[in-house]
Symmetry: C2
Subunit: 240 residues, 2 copies
């Protein structure tokens, strides 16, 4: 069982609102079609979700009760999701959409309740569930953002995943001289790369922190490394 995150910055042009990076998405879809393990895909928002979330001031802990704002984010993300699904279907992948807005809810402490009955059954029926960054109803906040990274961590635990992959815009965690670190086993290791990569991903240290807490080994790589990851190799940086 593999949980694969396709970074929003990888499959979209992050500088232009709601613009796909179509060649990158095609490469990602080609790689996913070549996977032989059971697979759950999560994609980020890139230039689809983030612009709207910023415009409406919505984040993982600050929400809106305005349905227009909620659906600006959700609608942009489902549009991107439909495109991702279409590219996968073109390649024979039996991908089905799962929208967190329909499933999830946060309580007053921000804890996300995300019942995964549909994901479990889709996998048992040999479908590939495709989730995405989204919004979800949240106590006292209307709706808040549910991030793709949050979904990856939740899915990896729930499914007892064998491997977790984050396909990013950088080839791995970078050290002070922009070289890929092979392995990160503690936050001290991750701190090596933080200064070099913060500009690119915004939150590599945060991603590493989350990944270190998982039981499954997690791999951070770029599009060049994705095919290798999906056939069991270890491109980029392994976090475990």
């Amino acid at each position: 069982m593999i949980v694969l995150k396709l970074g929003g910055s990888v499959i979209t042009d992050k500088d232009r609102p709601e613009t796909l990076d179509a060649p990158a998405l095609d490469r990602a879809a080609d790689a996913v079609a070549g996977a032989s393990d059971d697979l759950v895909v999560v994609h980020g928002g890139g230039s689809f979700g983030h612009h709207h979330a910023a415009a409406w001031g919505v984040s993982v802990d600050s929400g809106t009760d305005d349905v227009e704002g909620a659906l600006a984010v959700h609608g942009a993300m489902t549009t991107l999701n439909r495109v991702v699904l279409a590219r996968l279907h073109d390649r024979g992948v039996s991908a089905l959409p799962v929208h967190s807005l329909s499933v999830g809810a946060r309580n007053t402490d921000g804890v996300l309740d995300l019942p995964l009955a549909a994901v479990d059954r889709m996998l048992a029926e040999s479908f590939v569930p495709v989730l995405h960054g989204d919004v979800a109803a949240t106590a006292g906040e209307g709706v808040t953002v549910v991030s793709g990274d949050e979904l990856v961590a939740r899915l990896a635990r729930h499914l007892d995943a064998d491997r977790v992959g984050l396909c990013s815009t950088v080839p791995g965690v970078l050290d002070g001289e922009n070289r890929v670190v092979d392995r990160v086993s503690s936050l001290d290791d991750a701190a090596l790369g933080e200064s070099a990569s913060t500009d690119v991903t915004g939150g590599m240290a945060g991603k590493v922190r989350t990944l270190l807490e998982l039981d499954a080994p997690a791999h951070i790589f770029d599009l060049d490394g994705l095919p290798a990851f999906l056939v069991g190799e270890t491109p980029g940086t392994v976090v475990d």
Copy 2:
């Protein structure tokens, strides 16, 4: 708390594939905008979902593992759902979509597991969840149909609804002379109307059977009766 079903035949032109009955939907949306109680809306498939389900041979107990078939039904239903949401938003209703494909799953006995954390939280945050007939992953079947009526019964129980309303193409359960029966308290009463109404709704007796099993009183009425139902009156037939 009210659970309202808008029949697919009411809001679509059932004889023409994927064709809206726009004036009827506008009237329904006007009525929903006038409701003061907490509300969950479920809409049927009408000419959106049913044509595709029939073409792919998909029903509540017979499925397909072809993702094209699954998404033909699901995609048509989410298209209809977006239109329903838009009409509600135009009238200031804070409606949010809930897709059963993302949430639900049937086991080998056909029993639907449908965790409702998102619906509960949406209601607590003063949104109006809008569900619809859909498909859901099903053990051994790929995906099968989840009917709007099934969702209504599930929601009424889960939410301990005060009232359930089925907005139909007929003004209520009809007797042998096409007169609306005021009250149905047993299947014997329902049998009165079955012969007269079967042609119109296809399954009035089945609907009545399901409604009799609910704790909440259920009302069957047409578009003319919808505004009255939503302000607490008792148009059409009450089933309890």
